[in-house]
């Protein structure tokens, strides 16, 4: 690792390069004549809406598929054959969206997955050497993880570190990070950025894929934009304004307010109290709640902001009944709900958008229409026999499809075949379909593209304006635009309240991080 400036590396061949590549899957054109290079010591951002071809480009660059036309070059040499995984791994490493960690194995084993750890080509594992080497890798790059623990017990951030450590210890000079921050809290994102900067200084070329445009401006030197399989823009980040970047991603569609924090209409005319939480205490490994009270009235959207482990998600889970609280009460429409009983809470008129849409959000093999109406089945079935009235069902489903602009070729299309953004719309649509009096939403826009995000937030804003009481748990500041009031949770308690929008980013970040605010907790500017 030389200490001098990585910017002097331009005369070196790029660490990774796609030359005029095209790829088609069946009828779908995934990529068309895309050329892109990542230089040593740069962080190259890659953005695009869901389905723009980012993932396909990653599979080509990592040797999981071969381009139909064009070629891939790594470190100035033609790419090895697909069968030769070892050669690929020496040159390019990828931290995929899906975790590539093996949970039952230890951290050390995960770092040295399928690599010799003893002398030369011995087929036997030298456990002592392996642990020691893994420990050295962690030390060298400043990662603080016990290499003897099982990878299954790691947090999302730590798993990512394991994958990065694996890549770095192989010695690959080209690292692809595919939406690395999707599951990370703010502080972890900052730490990741520090690591990326360090790797960049060490001469590693990073291809950084993200939906969060502010991250691109934070960390990247250059940025490329994919739209419908074509490269529409590439250049130095400093030369491209955010509106232009968004315009390139969205294309001809009118560019919407993508980044500014919107002013929310004032809170006059709020209705009755719909959700009341009193002194709630919950013990959970995902972050305990230490006595929180809050109330949400009709027509307001309360934002609950907190880091991973702050208890904000736990609170939502406890309110909906997924976790049984230690003490405290939850009242919906003035009447207490039995603790720990999800169906009872839902029946009381609460809609719920869960954190993990894949695990709890939808039945993947069922159609869009069926998923959207899962919560209203009893309203659309007739008589004692409960025969489903398909016409009524489809009408309700179509209403949600229109409202959320769900892109599907029919109500029968399986949700599993939709893009991530549209899947999330189905989850939100399902929660909205019964027209609940209270809506509880957890991180609704994680991993969805800009346009879907707009549609999702729009739908929730409309619901709020029509008098729904919304509790929005999120650590994405974009989501908070639809909130009328913010509560910041730190270590299980509400640390700050922000009563009047617009919110000041700096103040908010400071509050979320648990810092003392300069000049009172209520920023009136």
């Amino acid at each position: 690792m030389e200490g001098n400036s990585p910017r002097g590396a331009e005369h070196q061949p790029p660490v990774g390069e796609a030359l005029d590549v095209s790829k088609t899957f069946g009828e779908t054109r995934a990529l068309l004549n895309v050329s892109l290079d990542v230089r040593a010591g740069e962080c190259h951002g890659l953005v695009g809406r869901n389905g723009a071809g980012k993932s396909t480009l990653v599979t080509l660059l990592t040797g999981l598929a071969r381009p139909d036309r064009g070629s891939i070059r790594l470190a100035g040499a033609p790419a090895p054959s697909l069968a030769d995984r070892g050669e690929w791994l020496d040159r390019v490493a990828c931290v995929y969206q899906r975790s590539m960690v093996v949970p039952p194995l230890t951290v050390a084993e995960n770092v040295f997955l399928n690599r010799p750890t003893g002398d030369a080509r011995s087929p036997f594992v030298n456990w002592r050497r392996m642990r020691q080497q893994a420990h050295e890798v962690m030390l060298e790059w400043g990662f603080d993880i016990d290499v003897d623990q099982a990878a299954g017990s790691l947090t999302v951030e730590q798993r990512q570190i394991v994958e990065i450590a694996r890549a770095l210890s192989i010695g690959a000079r080209f690292l692809i990070l595919d939406e690395p921050t999707a599951a990370l809290e703010k502080a972890a994102v900052e730490r990741l950025f520090a690591r990326v900067r360090r790797m960049r200084e060490g001469g590693i070329g990073v291809l950084y894929i993200s939906h969060h445009l502010e991250e691109i401006y934070d960390i990247c030197d250059r940025v490329s934009v994919l739209r419908d399989g074509e490269l529409v823009l590439t250049g130095a980040v400093s030369d491209i304004s955010q509106p232009n970047l968004v315009a390139a991603m969205v294309g001809s569609a009118p560019s919407r307010r993508a980044t500014e924090i919107e002013a929310v209409p004032n809170r006059s005319g709020l209705g009755e109290e719909r959700l009341a939480v009193t002194e709630l205490k919950v013990t959970s490994t995902g972050g305990s709640v230490e006595g929180v009270s809050l109330s949400v009235r009709a027509g307001e959207c309360v934002g609950l902001v907190g880091l991973d482990g702050s208890g904000s998600v736990t609170l939502a889970d406890a309110v909906i009944g997924l976790i049984k609280p230690q003490s405290g009460t939850v009242k919906v429409l003035g009447r207490p709900v039995p603790p720990g009983k999800v169906d009872a809470v839902l029946h009381r008129g609460v809609g719920y958008v869960p954190q993990d849409r894949h695990a709890r959000g939808f039945a993947p093999q069922l159609g869009v229409g069926e998923n959207l109406t899962l919560a209203v089945l009893e309203n659309v079935s007739r008589g004692v026999l409960g025969v489903v009235n398909f016409k009524a069902r489809d009408r309700i489903a179509q209403e949600q499809v229109d409202k959320l602009q769900i892109v599907a070729w029919s109500l029968q299309q399986p949700v599993s075949s939709l893009s991530g953004g549209n899947q999330q719309k189905v989850v939100v649509g399902r929660a909205l379909a019964p027209n609940p009096s209270v809506l509880i939403v957890v991180n609704p826009t994680v991993g969805v593209d800009v346009a879907s995000k707009e549609a999702l937030l729009d739908a929730m804003r409309k619901a709020r304006d029509e008098g729904m009481a919304v509790l929005l748990v999120s650590d994405d500041f974009e989501d908070l635009r639809i909130c009328t009031r913010l509560l910041v949770m730190v270590r299980g308690k509400v640390a700050h309240q922000f009563e009047q929008p617009p919110w000041d980013r700096q103040q908010l970040i400071a509050a979320v991080e648990g810092l003392e605010l300069v000049g009172a907790g209520d920023p009136q500017r």
């Binding site: 990828c94 399928n114 594992v125 456990w127 694996r166």
Partner: protein, 326 residues
Amino acid sequence: MPRRDARHLALKWFRELPLVPVIVLVMIWGSIVNPVFLTSSNLTDVATGGAPLGLVVVAETLILLTGKFDISLQGTFGLAPLLGAWLIAPAASEGLGTQWNPWFGILLVLAIGLAVGIFNGFLVIKANFNAFIFTLAMSILLTGLQLGWLGGRTVYHLPEVYIYLGSESWFGISVAVWVATIVFVIAELFLRYHRVGRAMYAIGGNLEAARAAGIKVDRIRIGVFVVASVLAAVAGLMVAGRVTVATAGQGSNLIFGVFAAAVIGGVSLDGGRGRMLGALTGVILLSLVTNILTLSSISSTWIDAVDGAIILLALGVARLIGTERA
């Protein structure tokens, strides 16, 4: 520091082998039920009887670790030694009359294991058939072949070479027990220290991650099916040797005990979790329970029910003590 490490290690062992205290309890129970239980001759019998089961458990555990399973091991277990016996025994003792060299017979037993393993492996892994339904069908087919070829007959007067594995002893302990023990030790060491052994855990733990790391995922998974089938065939030979005859129907219902032993021993049905040593404790527990039930005064018609109840109990205890989900 070293003392803390030692305690830590002991605790880890305890958690990884949660059945050890259960086995101790069962042995106390056995000695109360019948004084014969704790005699060395009875315990040797238990070991001899448990050896074939143990070998099949090793086989199934290898497959389970890679995230698949194979029900047809019991079919191989029955068919392979029967076909071998049929071809080497004289017509007078219900053989075919070809009277092959017994060594050929043994080779044939291994070859059948090999063939079934390759067939299962390719169709489950490469052609992506569902392992459950495919190996279930294979199991029915293999068991059916036994019956079809031989009807209800029994092949007897088997040559000594052929029954050596099941009938001879070294130092007072059956050859079958020695072989099973050696296989257990090799499997445990292989899984712990060999790169392919570790790769098997990676495959079962996260298939995509293993593939992305350059592990030859399909080759290893097919190989495991083959090794397992061969082990099952050898286990079948042990039983044929012990009872000195080959019977159609050998091995029916064996597979449930195999799964039970592996799972109560901490091997996960989802793949990637479990140890060979744990599976061994499962085998020991099941064999002891079967023995005690036979020695006890429980009516033979009730033995199966009690057996099932004890497996449930062992699962509960393993869940309470162990870190693994049983």
